[in-house]
Amino acid sequence: MRALVAVKRVVDYAVKVRVKADKSAVETAGVKMSMNPFCEIAVEEAMRLKESGVVSEVVAVSVGSKACQETIRTAMAMGADRGIHVQSDEALTPLGVAKVLAKVSEKETPDVFLMGKQAIDGDNNQTGQMLASLMGWPQATFASGVTLEKGKATVVREVDGGMETVTMGTPVVITTDLRLNEPRYATLPNIMKAKKKPMETIDPAALGVDVSSKQKVVSVSEPPTRQAGEKVADTADLVDKLKAKGLIA
């Protein structure tokens, strides 16, 4: 079986982002970037499926600017066999990315397409579902447990009230939740090996897909800041303050 894994380059999760003065976007120049944490979990899961002999090849795909090649190299340093970079300097919406990934899927014919449940920049939580929809495949979102065998996936999902288990035929899109696994670190020898692994670069136009969007960003602004609070002296003081606000009886 072949696994495709989508990886996204995002502002590092620990960075406190700043909105640009012209309110057009969040500042990304000179900011630390890294692989979206949910994508790392997806790569790790693909590697575990390969190590258990279920999957024979893992291909990492990223859509975006040239710098995304670093993210693909990171996935290959974690163990992915090869990379596909769809180079686009425009910011695509999740639908645009899903259309690109659908074209890549038609060509690469994966049995399982793994990706994160959401990117921590856009927080959309859409791309996997859209890809599955475009391909006519089933989906297992928010996965915290994956069992894959030829022709069938059984996935434990994190849902609002707890967990549920679903089963579906392959090919399938699986999006990863935080609890699925603990991603490995790439070791130095593996980082060196990753430099020699094959990476294909594709122009989205060559895929014959229209990624234009009718959605436009009007503005990006800072959220309202909370009024500075105060420290209370002790629990009795806290209780008095909450009573004064009518929050406790």
């Binding site: 502002v11 999760y13 406190k16 969040v26 949910f38 999740p94 639908l95 959401q118 920049d121 856009g122 927080d123 939580n125 859409q126 579902q129 859209m130 599955a132 929809s133 495949w137 089933p138 989906q139 297992a140 979102t141 059984t154 994190e158 849902v159 609002d160 009230g161 707890g162 967990m163 549920e164 288990t165 679903v166 579906m168 035929g169 935080l178 609890r179 969007s213 009718k214 959605q215 436009k216 960003v217 009007v218 602004s221 800072e222 959220p223 909370r226 009024q227 609070g229 105060e230 420290k231 209370v232 002790d234 629990t235 009795a236 806290l238 209780v239 303050k241 909450l242 929050l247 406790i248």
Partner: protein, 342 residues
Amino acid sequence: RVHRGQHMLASRAVSRLVALRTFSASRSASTLVLATHDNKTLNPATLSAVTAASKIGGDVTVLVGGHECGAVAEAAAKVAGVSKVLKADHPALAKGLPENLDKLVLKVLSDGGHSHLLSATSAVSRGVLPRVAAQLDVDAISDVTEVQSEDTFVRPIYAGNALCTVQSGDAVKVVTARPTAFDKAPAEGGSAAVDDVSSSAVDSGISSFVSEEIAKSDRPDLAAAPVVVSGGRGMKNGENFQMLYDLADKMGGAVGASRAAVDAGYMSNETQVGQTGKVVAPALYIACGISGAIQHLAGMKDSKTIVAINKDPEAPIFQVADHGLVEDLFKAVPELISAVAK
């Protein structure tokens, strides 16, 4: 257009007229709200979705897709502001499998010609709405916190550290709405008709539900509780959460957790508050032994009053707390419990 407007003037209440004037472009708006439910009761998040839909303007139709979900449809019909309820009853819709529910939504949308599809942000709507959007070849708009007009919406990005205003030119706007950002529409006062819609061909047969482990609790739902008491890594183990439950019970609240507490196995996944867990906005949020990482703040910083109990005076949680108590939580929480008990 003018003629149509005049007809509407004649037939509708004044409050409706005001709404139409406010959203002058919305004369043709018609929103299909996908209900959130468990086949027995209507989830209160649906009431927030109806409010979000009413801000778009135009008619609001609620779609209840499920199995033996008659009571849910009846409840939806009583919600103020709902003009019609459509009910589809089929075993394949029982568990909200997206590969089946999307077929139903697409069929109802194409029959009804709705301009908007909206649902409260939930595990089910997150699964279904993007699938529907992709079939319609339109972008989807996730977790909006404000409806500015029928085509313009505000949504948080970067874990709530920026607000993005987006305008959609798509023929159908597909939107999920953050329940905590919209007041609940009154659950009584409406008298919409309930129509059955055909649920033939909703079983795609490509996925099946196997089992579920749903946490049973008499306590209020975390997402809707007026008080939330949350614990983090500082709780040290799962047993210690009992005192947070004791405090929450005295206050009629629910108990939440940080990612650290869930990852350490102190609490189960569905209690996680944050960017990738639940978003809550209670009247009172009490954070115990939680440092206040960006990802946690994303899930609770719209709470009306935030209390932080942490022995580290430098913990970032104090930057958003209205009342900060620098104290060992194992001393402070029991004191709080006995104070509330009095």
